[in-house]
């Protein structure tokens, strides 16, 4: 049921090529991650929609094999 951090990063970067992605494995168990995603794609987009865009980049894994991904989305400064 676990997913590797670099796989999460790869999927996010595939959907947001300009993104700065930082993944933390919170418990070292490959199941509880925190992700910070910074991308121009989020400019002017409501926060719920930003998170939906990232979930969609993860192609259905969120809520399934990926149990916990604390998500923080930002636009470049």
């Amino acid at each position: 049921m676990a997913m590797k951090a670099d796989e999460i990063e790869r999927l996010i970067k595939e959907a947001f090529p300009d993104a700065v992605v930082k993944i933390d494995d919170l418990r070292g168990d490959g199941d509880h991650y925190a992700a910070r995603v910074i991308s121009k794609a989020f400019v002017g987009v409501p926060r719920v929609r930003q998170h939906q865009m990232v979930y969609s980049a993860l192609k259905g894994r969120m809520g399934g094999e990926l149990h916990a991904l604390a998500l923080q989305t930002e636009t470049p400064k």
């Binding site: 926060r47 719920v48 998170h51 939906q52 979930y55 969120m62 809520g63 604390a70 998500l71 923080q72």
Partner: protein, 116 residues
């Protein structure tokens, strides 16, 4: 949330709940006994703000557990609705509390909160 088709009983029920109750939290467990850390975190935020809300346990209803994810196009539980509008899950609620946006949202929507 853009789904306006009728005939889906679960979606109809969700629509009714978020229409009848100003603040609704779809969660794992109950406000008194949350069964997941993320649900517990949102319960704590709402309780601290003194907001009246209805907690709905999705664990007792597999159809609802799946249906709410489709309804709001959101893959995880908990999910917070205010005046019929999907606000977000645990991360967004916590972020909005920290920034003060959540308090503003409740005030704007006419939902009473405890004086800080």
């Amino acid at each position: 949330m853009n789904d306006t088709t009728t005939g889906n009983a679960v979606h109809d029920r969700i629509r009714q709940e978020i229409k009848d109750n100003s603040v609704v939290l779809f969660m794992k467990g109950t406000p008194a006994f949350p069964m997941c850390g993320f649900s517990a975190a949102v319960v704590q935020v709402l309780n601290n703000m003194g907001v009246q809300y209805k907690g709905i346990d999705v664990l007792t209803d597999p159809g609802l557990r799946q249906g709410i994810k489709e309804f709001s196009d959101w893959p995880t539980i908990p999910q917070l609705f205010v005046k019929g509008e999907f606000i977000g899950g645990c991360d967004i609620v916590r972020e909005m509390q920290t920034s003060g946006e959540l308090k503003t949202l409740f005030t704007d929507k006419g939902v009473a909160t405890k004086a800080a």
